[in-house]
Symmetry: C2
Subunit: 198 residues, 2 copies
């Protein structure tokens, strides 16, 4: 890339390491950044280093936060006896956006995947079991509806059942507004199996 | 976004301002950056501020570079009498990748677009005309094959013709390896008009 000056090449190279950003996007982004006002570039750069330096795991639910306890775990109005287990902080955010869940979360940071060599000890499962020693009514498993997510859900439910705590799994089926024609067969079958009486 | 801590929200917001990065990608990138090793985050952040601070326009061809004269203009082996006019530095890089063009470039930083209110004075046209006072054999117009690119090409060729310098336009037609079936009609007609005898 010697037709670009070294500063530009370096920026393109760094950007193309980010997930989902290929060589072309990295070039486009690099030139956009070079053309941005200086203060904006500094804001972006500081946001990155600031987040990296200050963000850590909530000591209760292990979501990413900048306090010892995340805002949800620190909120006394939330139902701390109902724990929703999610794979990552983005999934937590997705449920928080609904505004309807009053309980708290537990973030696993991954899912069990024999294919990728990720076992139960590689995700925050021990920490979940530790939390269940407190007074907990229900664990809602909201891992993804993928092979890994389902495997993890099964594994967790087997672990928890002997404790007598209620374990549930979020429903899977046809998404609201989904056109049956475009939905895969596995989802259609799942929706059939999970049908509810009206 | 109060379910994210302020450092995370700030990073997501900054990232989502970049072109082609929507809310979802910004979230994914933010968590990726937070999980990157600290040195890598610093490298990325420094690459941005470094590029912003050091990159300027080549005083000859106006490409983005970090020297007074870009490596191409500074290269005595290039043919300085043949100037290829491109819209931006990425287009210059695209032609440099072919490794076959021996001349030098002129980067307009845009194209004439009456729709967007971009006129001949908003791009580096005066600077091109100034360069033609030196000894130049040919100006090759390699603006995009879009409405704006074609308008710009026509405008430049009319400006240059009276000077007696040869003006040419890169060919447009069916891309190599392109399947006729999937190519738009305008391109097909253009390819027909531009046919060459075998």
């Amino acid at each position: 890339m010697d037709y670009y000056s070294s500063h530009i090449s370096k920026l393109i190279e760094q950007l193309s390491r980010l997930p989902g950003i290929g060589a072309k996007s990295a070039q486009r982004l690099a030139f956009h950044i070079i053309n941005m006002p200086k203060e904006q570039v500094e804001q972006l750069s500081n946001a990155m280093t600031g987040a990296k330096e200050n963000v850590r795991y909530c000591k209760e639910c292990f979501t990413l936060t900048d306090q010892e306890l995340c805002p949800i775990c620190a909120n006394a109005k939330r139902n701390h006896k109902q724990i929703m287990v999610v794979e990552n902080t983005r999934d937590l955010a997705a449920y928080e956006k609904t505004g309807k869940f009053e309980g708290v979360y537990h973030v696993l940071h991954g899912a069990i995947s024999p294919m990728l060599g990720i076992g139960p000890n590689d995700i925050r499962l021990k920490e979940l079991m530790h939390r269940l020693q407190e007074d907990v009514d229900e664990v809602i498993i909201a891992t993804n509806s993928s092979l890994e997510g389902e495997t993890t859900a099964m594994y967790i439910s087997k672990l928890i059942k002997p404790t007598g705590i209620k374990v549930s799994r979020i429903a899977s089926g046809v998404p609201v507004g989904g056109d049956l024609e475009y939905i895969d067969e596995v989802t259609l079958l799942r929706a059939l199996e999970g049908r509810v009486e009206l």
